[in-house]
Symmetry: D2
Subunit: 441 residues, 4 copies
């Protein structure tokens, strides 16, 4: 029962594979094999059992049936262990008894999810690097490309496109470091047995965990059956990162409006309108950004887990984790593609500044007029010049230069260039360099 | 790339089928066939084209490829229409040109979702009826089964199990009516063409929509491309309904605790603990209840859709709608199963009342002592009796009966039975009847 | 400890007053007085007590102290009842004992919230009517004002501003009907006593509720202590309604961009930029739309309430309900103000259509060329004309008219006007009328 | 317009004060004074202006009026700056012109929130330390107190209360470290001027920021007007931390059920039921845990902020941040109180184990029988013993000891003590020590 259509914008081929049945079955099998090896190593189960268990494959395991069994047991683990034992039994009936020895359902399920997330995060990391590289190149290439600043969607004094992109880079870099660090904490062994004390393993319990962790290449952890905070922190970090991806996509889609036309994504056709070029990548990213806050809330809501194993909290996690990771990957891939091949129309950026007729430099004029004339007087004169500029017959700078009181107090060289964008970039390039540098660390 | 394991507790076989690729392809095909029929009927496309389009099947359509194409176009519709046209072209090259004539991507996608939801809601309706029936039977059977009321998880005056279940029935009934009514509003034709005016159809546009709606058995609607409020109301109603299912499951899981032991779900094994009987159905329901608030939020967040078609808001909807409907169905099925075969331990209910040693009747004593003695005096005497009862040597009733001031003011017949639960049920049966009656309407 | 700054964009003066301490104290007092009257009427408490209780005022009640007491008791009700009884006792010590007789904390708290919501909804209703009126006038005034349709923020075939506004009106109207209907269900008496059976009132319990409801002007309801679905439906309906307000505000803020400049809100200054006119109202509305999905989720998450009274679910509700209602009112007031005085630049709307150089009529050309030439051929010719038009030297219509194959198959009168927006509005006016009519019902 | 009743369970007196009007006015004033000092130091504004601005106080500022003004300007900053300038003007008309020189509304608003959060986090830190201390003492005191493990609310093999509490301590410690680290990142200066380039300050802009930061004791940051990821990470960390508080409260409230009766909070009266002792603190904590996931979602949803300043995203933040921080503090204070004075009934813990009649040791028996008898045979024999034990006439251990095949393969010393809880604690104490140690780092 595949759902490529429903999920078309919500995952990537690679990530859908990571969360597929085969992938999870393999991760669960990896746990059981590593467990048998560790337990045999300390003498808890017969050495023979290891060989019998380790020769198992997922090919004989029926995911449909195992999935269905979870509806009566509350977990896929029981059905999985039963199916695995049946497979082992067909080769060696005695060894089958030692499958999953001393472990509990949540041990295999949580560890399998940890192994799965490790694969997923590696994919995300590569995509983040691709996006980061593309955006850094864009920022460097446009260090001197001047464009309108825009606040509340209205024209503000100019910025550089390089600075805008550097702001994206820095926030994405912080966001990714958050995801990465949280993943390192969250991706850990789960192994506690029925009540989290490993009591069924007797005195040798504590020896098994380190071996098992080593076999799987996972960090050890004291059993964390109902303490989901590390996984939650990972889910949250993903949510923050996707929101920043969404901020970038919003900017891109706004700059891509026909009336603005400063950047353009590659691609994006329309079924009804042959003339169109849609921000399809931005739409995919924004779709993820619309979904993830709710997914984060869903995870957090399930964290209030009872005693040593919850009824309902843990059971809610898998879809949420799978969906948020895939949403992250889907957004990342779309934005990395778009960023790698974004068209930037430098002329149009300048034209949009010109369209304001210099009014965005009113703040600059105020900075020069304030001290000599006082605020009230300055506001009056600037207001006059703005009114002229809005009529469209002359620029704000020209209108200002026509006011004798202004001419008297502003140096003529400055006044002549009062509305030259290049002269009013402040610390744009300094901040750009700091942002990129900070993000590199 | 199936995900039976990730989704094992998040859907049912039936609902997973409804949201599967084949199901959606069929719904999209149904739209295109009905469209061709309607357009031919008013003379917009050649009659021949209808036959060629109507003989298409989903067998030749590759969901994987169509899904993948959405990543560059932002929608599965374009890939679908292309694939369908290719299929038609193989039979009749001219007719292929009239596939999807005058429609836009969102027309086919939204209408396909409407058709899909119609199937899903029918399944939910049947399950709701099954649950409703089981709970009504339970309420009737236990109209006189007395149990502890519990407030803030502490003992309160008694209720009947019949009343408690009737409260569930009434809330579920209101909840279902909400889902049903919202579905009736939300499940509607989408047909507006590129900008929602049907301009491409010329003067005959308005004639096509009613025919198309009739062909599909859907209500007509003025194009609602970026007005998602009806779908949102359906998603919200599902969220409210699932939350009520969750309330029932919480009650069941609490009553099923070993120390309480008043009810028991059928089934529920454990991988590590052969002695256990888990509330597996309740866990499934509570898992859904943990996830749905976030899913509702995800839908609402995507509603702020720009102009005539959004970039990102609409694109976020499909997974959310599919997940919430499947979560609803999963919870419903689990609870219907549990309710149909719930064990009720009437004796244990009484034993748990007895365990309070009558202290829950302190409120009743107050009602009798207040007028004759005043509140302060009454509180003192009741406090004395409670202290005795808490020591465990005698019941609250006995302790009270040993206080002369009490004996003086409470009628001896009443005092003797002051802590008889049957005498302190108030309007329990009246309310039970009202709740069931109200829910029947 | 007031918070006018934190809440400045999150409420209105009127609604802040409705949820203020004084307002809630009055509502709680109204409940207790009405309860005493009802209980005296059926002989449950002395007639004298009514007078003593009914002469109470909120002036002697210390909200700070009552609020603080809730931290040890879990509810403001206990502190309130104690304070009220103290006040009554100062006038008549015996009557004080009959304050709150037979009721439970949740009875007074829930009923007070119902009374509060009744006041709040009346305010919202008036604001909705104001907004609705303003938008209807706008739609009628601009029935023939042509503007670009915009899909995925890209130019699409034209619509009318009247149609766009009518889409807002209809969705807001549906949304408001949802709020109004849900409020009518949710605003109801709560009266069940300790365990929801009114047992403490003996046989006369069921007679009290109707009198109490009548005294308060509220509908009766079977006690609904842990069944929060009706309140949830109201919260959800508010969330849907706010999301639609957000959709309108997004449209307005996008149309108000300097490069688009089709509409303008009144007002909206800037501290740093004297030249600016900000979409301040839209920002307030969008702020509400950003917050409400999470608030809806918060309410839903608290609905899984245990047994006869929850520990934590009910306790979470008040802030959420208060915040969502105030967010709704804040957004409504801001949008009603903006809509009542929105500037519409009809010329600029036309100019932005012209800016597309006719390319948005490619779809129209296809409708005419498809049948005579076949899709492939038609796409080729349209592509040629689009390429010409994008160069900017001639319009799409002119470019098309220069292609002999096109001239041959499209009627010359039609071809001459192929890119005249007035000729390509389809059912815009029909749909506008239907939307306004549907919303009027 | 205070709301002590609505907020009674949603804040503490101390935190309500931190987010009050006076507190925010002071923080905004602190920014403006520090700004004037920094700007005068580099020669941007006259030295005289500093004295005039620095002698301002919040007493003359009208929070009601400033709050109201935000509805037309979209921010409290403009009204605040106007009011401050008026106050300065009354002392020195020229200096008033230099209030807020070169800064933008968001600079003062964001920095004021940073200063406010610094105060709030200090309060939370002290409460966390109090809670941590109380729980560590509890864990140490009950290192050997044996109680039922409980999974899916059903009996599992035993744990120690000390281990359970250590699990809480470790998770809360991780959670707090997360909050603390995120706060250190998020609490930073905002200073960028109109478009985030400090252009209005000319060449000396970059010199002002470090001085301003130093004056306020805040870390510098490149302007982050629309990059809200650090604040989001703080909000998320708070959400994770509150969820863990909620997990503890759920455990406490469940253990406090009358039928379980293993722990008891201090306090918690009832208005209707004199006999009750409610888990009032747990209810407050769980209320916060119900609300916070939605609040986190609300913040994340607002992060998609346009260009250099958003319309609606930023405007949504203040209430959400204020509510989540206050919810955190409310939950923390309640739980710290409860933990500091929690009653633990060690005997009842043992009695509840006994109530299982030894059946929770079935897993242990399996560990011994598996190797000698094989799983199938072992399951059969254990099943027999479980059946006997469930009848209640003998314990599981006794029943097992009566089966000859069992006696044959389990060492008699072991068999005799097969259901002695002390013998089946596994690594409980080891894990407890590790958890507390890990949390100490």
């Amino acid at each position: 029962m595949s759902s490529h259509l429903i999920d078309s914008l919500a995952t990537t081929t690679e990530l859908a594979d990571v969360f597929s049945d085969r992938s999870l079955l393999q991760a669960m099998l990896d746990f059981e094999i590593a467990l048998a090896q560790a337990e045999a190593a300390v003498g808890l189960i017969p050495r023979d059992a290891v060989a019998a268990i380790a020769s198992s494959t997922i090919d004989g395991l029926d995911a449909v049936e195992i999935g269905r069994s979870a509806r009566s047991t509350g977990t896929v683990s029981i059905g999985f262990v039963t199916a695995l034992a049946t497979q082992v039994r067909s080769r060696d009936s005695k060894s089958a008894d030692f499958v999953h020895f001393g472990a509990t359902s949540q041990d295999v399920a949580d560890t399998a999810m940890a192994l799965t997330l490790r694969r997923a995060v590696a994919i995300l990391a590569a995509e983040h690097a691709r996006l980061d590289g593309a955006l850094r190149r864009l920022s460097d290439a446009h260090a001197r490309t001047i464009m309108l600043g825009r606040t509340l969607l209205q024209p503000a004094p100019p910025v550089t496109f390089g600075l805008k992109v550097a702001g994206w880079v820095a926030a994405l870099s912080r966001g990714w470091r958050g995801v990465d660090a949280a993943a390192a904490d969250a991706i850990a062994l789960q192994f506690g047995g029925a009540a989290g004390t490993l009591a069924a393993l007797g005195e040798r319990g504590p020896q098994v965990a380190p071996l098992l962790a080593r076999n799987l290449g996972l960090p050890e952890a004291v059993p964390w059956h109902t303490q989901r905070d590390r996984l939650a922190a990972f889910v949250c970090a993903s949510g923050v990162y996707v929101a920043t991806l969404g901020k970038v996509a919003r900017d891109v889609s706004l700059l891509m409006q026909h009336e603005v036309a400063e950047v353009a994504e590659p691609g994006g056709g329309s079924s009804a309108m042959p003339h169109k070029r849609n921000p399809a990548a931005s739409a995919i990213v924004l779709a993820a950004a619309n979904r993830t806050p709710g997914l984060v809330a869903a995870f957090l809501a399930g964290m209030v887990q009872e005693h040593e194993r919850s009824a309902g909290g843990w059971h809610a996690e898998w879809p949420t984790v799978a969906h948020i990771v895939q949403a992250t990957g889907s957004a990342l891939a779309a934005l990395a593609d778009a960023a790698s091949d974004l068209s930037v129309d430098v002329k149009q950026m300048r034209a949009n500044i010109d369209l304001t007729n210099g009014t965005i430099f009113a703040e600059r004029a105020m900075a020069f007029l304030l001290a000599p004339l006082g605020k009230k007087k300055a506001e009056g004169l600037i207001g006059e010049a703005l009114a002229e500029a809005r009529k469209g017959s002359m620029t704000f700078g020209a209108a200002l230069s026509a006011i004798p009181e202004v001419v008297r107090v502003i140096d003529s060289d400055v006044l002549r260039r009062i509305d030259v964008p290049e002269d009013y970039l402040g610390a744009a390039e300094l901040f750009r360099a700091q942002l990129l540098d900070e993000a590199r660390r």
